[in-house]
């Protein structure tokens, strides 16, 4: 057994822990949400409170009258500490209990702080043991006052029968009758549930305050010890009616202050029921559909049912979701669902049919681009709470959409891409309760629909433009292949992004013409060097720009090739090999495919293992006047059989570059006389030595850029 001192120490520590916690809990009560276990502990408050009350009273009496026969201090402290600990624990339990039952009102606040004061004062007693006697007496009297006051308040908040049992779930599962049961009475559906929840705890089987029981029709009719409660008295109102209508401050107001109160709707239900004669037999179905009592009871039932399911147990939507259909709640905690369909090519009506399971939760439906028919609309019409629907480009007839008007909650409808004319549109809008309609029809433009729109000022109608008057230039056609050098033959494919475009082309260097030029069908076959020009046409559009590309048939490959003069260091790349690598330089002069010369001519030799008859040579060179790159000035061809002594074959001069020359690559050819046949061919390609006076680099030498050599 531990020593007294040890026990006291433990008690002391516990007090130091509990009391600050108690104060924090008391101040912030409304911010605490105890879990179920703590709720249960709270219920021990009315059980445990007896100990500190009795003991507190005894201590007070001891301090008041028995200070001349004191017990040893150690024992005093031990007993006081025990009492204080109980008081604190009871107070904590009390706070937990108060949170569980939504108690309101002044009584609770007084009782709570009174309880806290009891706990603190009990604790304080330990420390005043050595004070003057009179001080102790005053404190004892103070304590008694607080004690009696708080416990009186507590007594006013008496509990019902469910004192110590483990709490049930929030919904009293007693007779929640089925609204769909047509024999259910108003009493069963509207009155009994309210009485069960709010009155039975004091006026039921186990406890009948004022001898009044409200759990069955018979007991209600029997009344209280003071007589009947339903019949109107001489004053004009029944006791029942009077009590529930009294102001809150009145002592006789039912339910009493500190207990669960009637909501306004519940009060109205009871009032209407009493006023209509407190009939226990009248069926709910017998009331008119717009009768207030009917509506209220339905609302009450709906709320009651919902509470049972909305307890974070909304049905999961996984079974409806797939790669082509997404179904979600609008936001966390909402019970409204939105549905989106994607990928028209994979549309499956089964996905829509599945949704019938949650048909009254769906508020928003997006089926844009889905290939729909009347049968799909049949399914959609079941979504009674649908507010917004998107049927853009669904291929439906506007006639089949008229049935949408039967969905009373449907407010926003988007049908862009569904074609209709003015009369069909009028018919669609006639009698519709929509507030927003979005349309775009190829058959009818804004101007034509204006008269129809004016007839329905309550509907906000947005019409897309048809822009028939605008004439735009069509974009350029594109060549599918990237390559420009081919061997043998080449199948050139052309394409254009827009449907219905006609592409005309020429291969002889002339500009394409919409009437005379050949029309592209599925390919163009090239067998030799060709300058291909293409242009796109479409009715209603301005024709595109001309797109031009030169295709080269690869020539005969020399067996050796070497440069006599070196290109400019910056444009050396692969040396001579660049000239025969089948790669054209394109318009980026620094992409590694060009050889450039400036200060001297380009000279190179192409050789074969045996004598080779050649007809011509073609060189692909670049022109960019602004960048000092001018066309080749001349090509001189010489032939040799031993590689040392060369004879002249041919020379050709090219026209000088002009300021207006377009930037781009071009071919420069030199033909050989018939019968030319050598082992080695030497070519001298010259550049313009002095830039003309109109050029800003006048006087300086021009560049030549060469990237490919073709021998034929």
């Amino acid at each position: 057994m531990m020593s007294e001192k040890k026990i006291y120490q433990i008690l002391d520590w516990c007090l130091w822990i509990l009391n600050p916690l108690l104060i924090v809990l008391a101040i912030f009560s409304n911010k605490i949400q105890p879990g179920l276990f703590l709720q249960w502990m709270g219920k021990f408050h009315p059980l445990a409170l007896h100990f500190p009350i009795v003991f507190g009273i005894l201590i007070s009496i001891y301090f008041l009258f028995f200070q001349n026969k004191r017990i040893p201090v150690e024992t005093e402290k031990l007993l006081l500490a025990t009492n204080a600990l109980f008081a604190s624990v009871v107070a904590v339990f009390g706070i937990l209990l108060s949170l569980q039952n939504f108690y309101d009102g002044e009584i609770i606040i007084w009782h709570k702080w009174g309880g806290v004061a009891i706990a603190i004062l009990s604790w304080l007693f330990i420390y005043i043991l050595n004070f003057k006697i009179n001080f102790k007496r005053i404190l004892a009297i103070l304590f008694l006052i607080v004690l009696i006051g708080s416990t009186h308040k507590g007594a006013q908040i008496t509990h019902g029968v469910n004192a110590l049992s483990f709490p049930e779930s929030a919904n009293p599962a007693s007779e929640v009758a089925n609204t769909e049961d047509s024999t259910a009475t108003i009493y069963q559906l509207g009155v009994a549930p309210i009485l069960n929840q709010k009155c039975i705890s004091c006026h039921g089987i186990d406890k009948s305050k004022a001898n009044l029981q409200l759990h069955t029709p018979e007991s209600i009719l029997k009344g209280s010890e003071n007589g009947d409660i339903l019949k109107s008295s001489l004053k004009g109102e029944s006791v029942f009616h009077k009590r529930i209508h009294l102001p809150m401050e009145d002592e006789e107001h039912m339910p009493p202050d500190g207990k669960l109160q009637l909501t306004p709707d519940e009060l109205r239900i009871l009032t209407l029921w009493i006023k209509s004669g407190s009939n226990f037999e009248q069926r709910l179905g017998g009331l008119a559909k717009d009768d207030s009592l009917y509506l209220l009871v339905n609302k009450y039932q709906a709320a009651a049912n919902q509470k049972a399911s909305l307890n974070f147990n909304l049905p999961g939507l996984e079974e409806f979701n797939s790669n082509y259909c997404s179904v979600n709640y609008l936001f966390n905690g909402s019970d409204e669902v939105e549905v989106n369909f994607f990928q028209g090519a994979n549309y499956n009506r089964e996905n829509l049919k599945k949704l019938e399971k949650i048909k009254s939760s769906i508020v928003s439906l997006n089926m844009q681009g889905m290939p729909l028919t009347k049968d799909d609309i049949d399914i959609v019409l079941q979504f009674s709470n649908l507010r917004k629907v998107n049927l853009n480009s669904t291929g439906l007839e506007i006639g089949s959409l008229e049935r949408l008007k039967s969905l009373t909650k449907l407010k926003s409808v988007s049908i862009s891409g569904i074609d209709f004319d003015e009369t069909e549109f009028d018919k669609f809008l006639d009698g519709a309760k929509f507030t927003a309609v979005n349309v775009w029809s190829q058959k009818a433009g804004k101007k034509q629909l204006e008269k129809v729109i004016a007839k329905y000022p309550d509907i906000k109608i947005i019409v897309g433009d048809n822009l028939d008057d605008e004439v735009m230039k069509i974009s350029n056609p594109t060549i599918a292949q990237d390559s420009t050098v081919f061997s043998g033959r080449l199948n050139v494919k052309l394409k254009h992004l827009l449907k219905g475009t006609v592409i005309k082309y020429t291969t002889d260097g002339s500009e394409p013409d919409s009437l005379k030029s050949s029309e592209y069908t599925n390919s163009i076959i090239l067998t030799e060097n060709t300058v291909l020009k293409i242009k796109a046409y479409k009715p209603g559009w301005i024709s595109s720009d001309v797109v031009q590309r030169t295709f080269y048939k690869s020539g005969i490959q020399p067996d050796t090739i070497y440069l006599i003069t070196d290109p400019h260091p910056k444009y050396q790349n692969d040396g001579a090999k660049t000239l025969i690598n089948f790669q054209l330089g394109e318009s980026n002069t620094s992409n590694g495919e060009w050889l450039a010369y400036r200060d001297y001519n380009m000279e190179f030799v192409a050789g074969f293992n045996q004598q080779k008859p050649l007809k011509s040579v073609t060189i692909n060179a670049f022109t960019d006047i602004g960048a000092y790159i001018f066309p080749i000035k001349s090509i001189t061809a010489e032939g040799s059989n031993d590689g040392k002594n060369f004879e002249n074959i041919a020379k050709v001069d090219f026209p000088d570059g002009k300021e207006s020359d377009p930037r781009g690559a071009g071919s420069f050819s030199c033909n050989f006389p018939a019968g030319t046949s050598y082992r080695y061919f030497k070519f001298t390609v010259t550049n313009l030595k002095k830039l003309p006076p109109w050029h800003r680099g006048k006087g300086e030498p021009a560049w030549i850029f060469v990237d490919e050599l073709f021998l034929n």
Binding site: W16, P20, N323, A436
Partner: protein, 481 residues
């Protein structure tokens, strides 16, 4: 406790009890401030909650980012005082010590430059638009124009990073990644976050993948950058002799191998890889339908302008953005480069406007006529504004403007925003006089429109919880309908 023990443990009853009571009181306090602390919920759920937090107004965003910082004084903010004071020095009372960039700090003078373009008012709210934005001016009643944006960053990279990720330092997730992480993609066949780039002819600043990075979030949330050519997604079709079933079988085998690797190694990037293969497989079916213009009615093409037929232009990207968005992509971001008009401003900005004006307006009109505008939030703007003084030589026809973070204009449309003109700047177009909107405030408002509480939506990384708005930002209710 005897003195020896007491000394060793540095503990005596007084200290112990004090600490204990503080601790227990602290626990009580903790459970008050964080409801459910003792409930044992998963930590992230506790702080983040399940999204959306409340009913969203917008479901998707299309962000038309004008990279380089368009000059608000040439587009939206009409300041005739600058024309009157053309060439005069910027008063110190207005400048109030605003820092300059390295480009103009060497200037001896800061001559005010009025705009070369004329302005007029449009629409019911009398918004000012310059003559180079005719199409957007025509849509004035749909736009929520915020003239009082401000930021602290003065150069492009920090400012861009700040706008996209909420902090000037990098390596944080971008706005699109946050939304991809929080809300995911509506359409499982497409990524949640797509990025489209285009270049204008003006002075361009770079864009780089840091701006659509996933930061510390899972890499599946990185922005998917589409290619600016004819094939926005390359290698989309299967090679010649492989059909779809073979493809599926192959992917299943690869996925099995990857799963084994993940079991052994545990690298989360493996999981991302598996997911990306799956997404790519589904995109093969979804993307061709979306990128093809074959079924697009001609009037739509005409509305966007001739450029939209040329892949890689801003107009083509706008049209593609609409198609991606209406097919469920949560966040589509466009970047149009070339607005950094330090010099040659009149010519460059006119060219830029020709690129973007018609197609931006067409995008909004297109969404509206499909009934999608009230659930799609369209944002148009840059990373900061431009100065009212001229950078470089000021001539009657030509001038340039430097960076100006203290006030600039962006606009939004649809998605629950309230049309109108919000915020005001002073007559010099230098300081804000009404309703300052910081970048964090803007981000908080955008999040709010998507149904997310920006303070609750966090992610814990390296011991700290991060959020898009970092440490500041409040929702601006004026901008919300």
């Amino acid at each position: 406790m005897n003195e020896f023990n007491e000394h060793i443990l540095n503990q005596n009853r007084r200290k112990f009890l004090t600490r204990l009571s503080l601790g227990v009181g602290g626990l009580a306090l903790g459970s008050l401030l964080i409801p459910g602390l003792f409930e044992g919920k998963k930590e992230e759920e506790l702080f983040t909650g399940v999204l959306p937090h409340f009913a969203p107004k917008a479901k998707r965003i299309i962000y038309l980012f004008q990279n380089g910082a368009p000059s608000q004084l040439e587009l939206f903010d009409y300041k005739p005082l600058l024309q009157k004071m053309q060439g005069e020095e910027l008063p110190e009372s207005i400048r109030m010590g605003q820092r300059l960039t390295g480009m103009t700090s060497n200037q001896a003078k800061f001559p005010l430059a009025g705009s070369k373009f004329s302005f007029a008012q449009y629409g019911n709210n009398g918004a000012w638009f310059s003559e180079i934005l005719p199409h957007l001016a025509g849509l004035s009643d749909e736009l929520c124009i915020v003239k009082s944006m401000f930021t602290e960053a003065i150069n492009h990279d920090p400012a861009l990073t700040f706008f996209q990720t909420g902090a000037q330092v990098g390596n944080r997730p971008s706005m699109g990644s946050w939304l991809s992480y929080g809300l995911g993609s509506e359409n499982k066949n497409l990524p949640a976050f797509c990025v489209l780039l285009s270049k204008g002819k003006g002075n361009g600043q770079g864009v780089y993948s840091k701006l659509w990075s996933n930061g510390f979030l899972d890499s599946i949330h990185q922005g998917v950058q589409f290619s600016s050519g004819e094939e926005p997604v390359k290698y989309l079709t299967d090679p010649e002799f492989i059909n779809r079933t073979d493809r599926r079988a192959m992917l299943d085998e690869i996925s099995a191998l990857n799963n084994e690797a993940y079991k052994n190694i545990g690298d989360p990037e493996i999981v991302t890889k598996i997911q990306q293969y799956e997404l790519a497989y589904r995109m093969q079916m979804a993307v061709p339908e979306i990128t093809s213009l074959q079924n697009e009615p001609e009037s739509i093409i005409k509305m966007y302008g001739a450029d939209c037929l040329v892949p890689g232009t801003y107009a083509a990207n706008c049209l593609l953005a609409r198609k991606l968005s209406e097919n469920g992509v949560r966040f589509v971001q466009l970047y149009h480069q070339g607005w950094d008009t330090h010099g040659n401003l009149p010519k460059e900005i006119e060219g830029q406007c020709k690129d973007v004006d018609q197609s931006s307006a067409a995008l909004i009109k297109d969404l509206k006529q499909r009934g999608l505008l009230d659930e799609t939030l369209v944002i148009w703007g840059g990373e900061f504004g431009r100065t009212n003084y001229c950078q470089g030589k000021l001539t009657p026809d030509n001038y340039g403007r430097d960076h100006h973070p203290r006030c600039f204009t962006i606009f939004m449309a649809g998605g629950g925003t309230k049309p109108g003109v919000f915020g005001e700047t002073d007559d010099f177009g230098y300081n804000i006089t009404k309703l300052p909107v910081h970048v964090h405030d803007f981000q908080a408002t955008v999040m709010h429109l998507m149904g997310i509480d920006h303070e609750k939506f966090t992610f814990k990384n390296q011991g700290r919880r991060y959020r898009l708005t970092d440490v500041s930002g409040k929702v601006i209710p004026d901008l919300i309908a």
